[in-house]
Amino acid sequence: MNKYIKYILLLLAVVLVAYKSVYFEKLSERKSNNTAIAFDATAFSKKLWLQQFPVKLDNAVALPVLMEAINKSSTTAFTQYTNALAVGNYRYALVKLDAVVTSVKEDEVLINVQAGDSVLQASLATEFIYGNSIRDASGLVQVKDYPNTSDLNSISEALNKIVRSEVLPSFKSAVKKGNTVNAVAAVELNKEHIHWQGLEFIPLRISIKQ
């Protein structure tokens, strides 16, 4: 008898724990509810690109101006001209630049940028557009608005895709060594270790001077 009571109590405990542990819903209903509130990063980024990026690109700082400002007072310049979502030394800026193409490679275009008295050797990324440079440089996306990190990453992914598919193909097919180009580009800068030579720019608007 004692044995049976023990088993019944054990069974009751298992049922109680299971009752408190799982719940059931219809998958279709749950999905339709979730779809209504799911974040569509592609649509959001497209809207951002078409409606808010043009103004940001028009008002981007010229590279020589940024360099001079940083040389004068880096703290003020980084606050005024750059953005970053993460904590750390890396900051991102949108810059206007004029450059001469020195070499066209499979995944990048090497350029010389005239900045004041100096000539910077740099590159334009034309194939591998990854990371958060575009999103962060724009300053249009704030961490506090997105409790879900994957949403933030999806925005970067969508913006990178837009640049890969809409900005770069026509440039890649037309660019030749010796061309002069005008661009507005995103660039990553390490505020503790500033190296102006060898920077990589991601073009967001680019044209070849005829």
Partner: protein, 322 residues
């Protein structure tokens, strides 16, 4: 005279810990603060959970190299079930998990993995080192498959409290570690299972001849160690509010180090959970002290390795004298 020697050996971990604390206290004024003390305890809580399970295994003359990967897998599964539940499209069914349900599922998964370790060791006579080394890779692979290499984040405030909350000013992970240690001490010191564990580690053949079901005891021990690694995984996940697919890498080494420094013999049969707790705290204090003293992370690894080696040498010298 002999009695005195045994007493000193019994307390050597405690003496080492006290000496370490005194030296660090003299070298940096930030060491002896309540905040730092709680910080150290919070950090060692996970290792105490894992190392307690490891102690039970080492006492049976076994070893478990898979605990770090089990920690990652169980942490990920707990987070995944809690956040995303289970979907069965063919039945149009969604099974959601409450926090309790997800935690229980994680602990059960840990126990199951431990049981598989024990099964391959006892049924097929696979050496524990090899069986658990294989499980280390398998569990890590499953973690990557389950998470697709991405963290599972934003698990909510209630879940995060398990890792970063406090109860009576003491961090919740510390309370969990205290409960684990009390249960483990009672099991090893006051129960038949505990006596069997020591007997198997002391002389497996003699234990077998005296009628102990060695396979059953080992299965229980490996399952317990698996579920304790899972508990560690749940704490780590809650503390980060995110299940990281690469969590727990090299945690098995910290656990083994805690066991060895705590005086448990790797050949089995000798040692205690209390010793392991001291071992885990010594490693935690050492880590903390080296950080406070701004020692390079590369040197920290060297120092930690040297301390473990020293502990084993002292243990072996003691055994020879005996």
């Amino acid at each position: 005279m002999s009695q005195n020697k045994i007493d000193i050996k019994k307390f050597q971990s405690l003496i080492a810990l006290l000496l370490l604390c005194i030296v660090l206290g003299l070298m940096t004024d930030k060491f002896f603060t309540a905040e730092n003390g709680l910080n150290v305890l919070r950090q060692v809580a996970v290792n105490i959970c894992i190392a307690t399970g490891m102690t039970l295994i080492v006492l049976t003359a076994g070893i478990d190299l898979s605990v770090g990967s089990v920690l990652a897998l169980c942490g990920a599964v707990t987070a995944g079930l809690f956040k995303n539940g289970l979907e069965f499209p063919s039945s149009d069914l969604f099974v959601g998990f409450t926090m309790l349900g997800a935690i229980l599922a994680g602990l059960l998964l840990g126990a199951l993995i431990g049981w598989i370790n024990g099964f391959s060791i006892t049924k097929f006579n696979v050496p524990p080192f090899v069986a658990t080394l294989a499980m280390l890779t398998i569990a890590r692979g499953f973690t990557m498959l389950y998470t697709k290499g991405h963290p599972i984040s934003n698990l909510g405030k209630d879940f995060a409290n398990i890792g970063s909350g406090t109860f009576i000013e003491i961090p919740v992970p510390v309370w969990l570690a205290i409960v684990v240690v009390i249960i483990a001490v009672v099991v090893t010191q006051k129960t038949r299972l505990g006596r069997y564990i020591y007997a198997i580690g002391g002389n497996e053949q003699a234990a077998k001849l005296s009628g102990i079901n060695i396979k059953k005891v080992k299965l229980i021990v490996y399952s317990l160690a698996g579920s304790l690694a899972a508990l560690g995984g749940i704490i780590v996940t809650a503390r980060l509010d995110s299940a990281q697919p690469n969590a727990g890498i090299s945690y098995e080494l910290d656990a083994i180090a805690a066991v060895v420094i705590g005086g448990t013999s790797l050949s089995g049969g000798k040692g205690s959970v209390r010793g392991t707790v001291l071992g885990a705290i010594i490693i935690g204090v050492l880590n903390n002290g080296l950080v406070l003293l701004n020692v390079s992370p590369f040197w920290q690894q060297v120092v930690k390795g040297a301390v473990i080696l020293l502990a084993v040498i002292i243990d072996k010298l003691g055994e020879k004298k005996e």
